[in-house]
């Protein structure tokens, strides 16, 4: 299999690293070589967070350069723009339609950019906007946004669905497996 690179981005605390963990595990489960890279520490305190997952027959570098991602899975709409330089022109963006204003915006120094979806569309082949929080509330748990978004990504990747379900079952503690499977289905079918 030719290598595929997925960049997952958002704001510290949104559950990005969990999403990339699951994706990496699915790729291994599917018998591929896979590498995952992220940065811990100070950046996680409400800053911009990025995790990269690459999979294929043979992967060398765990990170990607500009114009090298096949997918961006974004948990916050503005963060999509910050990372879009890494997306191939033929790449696909799956974006959580959710705004978390950075501090400079909260205090009125900067403006939260308008028309972000239009800008994303300009630099990608396709864009899917997902109302993650609304969907999460539908199943009664606002903390499942990350798994919902992962479901939406899974739909567009070529791994068998069973691989995902097996990985989710193996990853979460028993009492939250069901809610996360539900969240995954919701994202997958959205």
């Amino acid at each position: 299999m030719k290598e595929t690179s997925v960049l997952i981005c958002g704001v510290g605390g949104q559950g990005i690293l969990l999403a990339s963990d699951l994706l990496g595990k699915v790729a291994i489960e599917a018998g591929l070589d896979a590498k995952k890279s992220e940065v811990h520490g100070m950046a996680q305190r409400g800053g911009a967070v990025v995790s990269i997952v690459r999979f294929g027959d043979k992967i060398y570098s765990p990170i990607i350069g500009e114009n090298e991602a096949d997918f961006i899975l974004s948990f916050e709409i503005l963060e999509t723009l910050r990372q879009i330089k890494f997306l191939k022109k033929s790449g696909i963006c799956i974006v959580n339609n959710y705004e978390l204003p950075p501090f400079s915006v909260s205090t009125g120094i900067d403006k939260y950019p308008e028309n972000i979806p239009e800008e994303i569309k300009k630099h990608s082949k396709e864009m899917f906007l997902i109302n993650g929080l609304k969907l999460a509330k539908e199943i009664g748990n606002s903390k499942t946004v990350n798994v919902i978004l992962l479901g939406a990504l899974a739909k567009r990747l070529s791994f068998p669905k069973e691989c995902w379900i097996k990985t989710i079952k193996g990853h979460f503690p028993p009492k939250i497996i069901d809610i996360n499977l539900k969240a995954f289905e919701l994202g997958y079918n959205n």
């Binding site: 704001v11 510290g12 605390g13 963990d21 990496g24 595990k25 291994i28 070589d33 896979a34 590498k35 995952k36 890279s37 992220e38 940065v39 811990h40 520490g41 100070m42 950046a43 996680q44 305190r45 409400g46 800053g47 911009a48 992967i59 060398y60 570098s61 765990p62 990170i63 990607i64 350069g65 500009e66 114009n67 090298e68 503005l78 963060e79 723009l81 910050r82 879009i84 330089k85 997306l87 022109k89 204003p101 950075p102 501090f103 400079s104 915006v105 909260s106 205090t107 009125g108 900067d110 403006k111 939260y112 950019p113 308008e114 028309n115 972000i116 800008e119 630099h123 606002s142």
Partner: protein
Amino acid sequence: MKVLLSGNEAVARGAYEAGCNIASAYPGTPSTEILENLRKYKDVYVEWSTNEKVAFDVAVGASFAGARTLVAMKHVGLNVAADPFFTVSYEGVNGGFIVITADDPGMWSSQNEQDNRWYALMAKIPMLEPSDSQEAKDLIKLGFDISEEFDTPLLFRLTTRICHSSTPVTLGDNITHKIKGYVPNVSKFLCLPSNARRWHPIVENRLLKLQAYNEKLNKNIMEINDTSIGIITSGISYQYAREVFPDASFLKLSMTYPLPIKLIKEFAGKVKKIYVIEENDPFLENNIKILGIQVTGKDKIPICGELSQTVLKKSFNISTPEPTELTVKIPERPPVLCPGCPHRGVFYTINKLKLHAMGDIGCYTLGAFPPLNAMETCVCMGASISNAYGIERASTPEDKTKLVAVIGDSTFFHTGVPALINLVYNNGCTTTLILDNLITAMTGHQQHPGTGKTAREEPARKVSIEELVKGSGVNRVFIVDPYNLDELKTILKREVSIPEPSVIIARRDCVLRIKPQFAMKVNNDICTGCKLCVNLGCPALTFKDNKAYIDHILCTGCGLCQQVCVKKSISKEQKC
């Protein structure tokens, strides 16, 4: 069966498989998860020590007693532990002893970009560098063997992208290493000059033996492809280079000190032009040039910052796709203190009182950023108190009353204690604020001597910060709740003006460790949009349609905004 492990997880797994008995560390990004993951293996004794030097000395003692030991730290931690590092090189080991340094090219979470490979050269200690998690696991096992065979500590050098990248690993069985037990050996373990003079030639000879060993090490891999370009590399740089130069010939080194001279010469004989591709300093390049072999690297590749495929392509003028040009300006999103962080009120108060705060290393370094702007210096772990006291020595009597040192609980135990004792002993009067959130927060909540729990979260003796401070000779010791702005302001204002040392302990749990019960809410009919609350710099508090707005999900109900609101427009509600 392969599993995806981060470099840090793989190091822990390798240590377990190699029968490591004892591991010590002080948390520091990107090294923290090594010890955290070693906790999975019940056979290994693990501890968070008070600082890297202490962790190092504990590991040395255990090695002297014949245990296989490991000590882990971030790159700057090895500066703290440098004193024993150099001496133990002379003394050697009994049980295998690995020193892990996790360097941080790109300074993702560090104050400098020092390249710790030089430590191996300077201390005359062998060094291994893995390029992925499988190698990390395998080389740790090899490292214990090398350490014991050559009677030397071994430096194991990781970088952020190895530590925090996950790659497939095949798990193996573990061996049991029987601890030999301590047997006195003064001629080996006592570093008197008379002994050290005898040891030094042995160390020099050991390097020659290690070099001969490295010549035959099957972990150094030579791949001969297109012979017009040969690349010598190690660690994560190999992965980047392999991707950018798929057809080139490679010499990938796993043991990067002492270098395998004959092997490098052999490689040089097979290829036309050699590039050395390495992150940060020209460590390999300079040491290969000394051998009289023609190589280049840093004439093209930057010394500063992390490497990547993109950086390499640019360095070698390999074409890259047109960069994406955006028509909108993207506001920055720097890290910030969390909503409800107990440090916020302290920095807000320092700012209001117009004090000069000398800072330290931890989450609270974020207090330097706008709108709090309440930290003016930061040098290294434990420096705040001595820096503030040093400034006090060089200040006028009036300026002395505006100085405060700000240090976290874990950092205080790390190296703040001797600094405070120095201040007391030398008749200083700087006020010290200990921000006690009852955990080592920045690195992800590790236990420390003040928490009453061991690294495995089992009960431990609790060291009381207030008793320690009083025992150090400070008479004026106050404990405040950092959610109480009035109390903070009254005490801080009073203490900085008093010409004797005081310590104010601002104590409250890190907000990430509690489940919030309340959230604040703005009454739009009363809010005048004065922005006083926005100056707290809370991520839950934004400004919408000329009014303050509080995000219910993010808010933890700390109530600071309610205290600063002069119009009384903010109230508390149950979290839903």
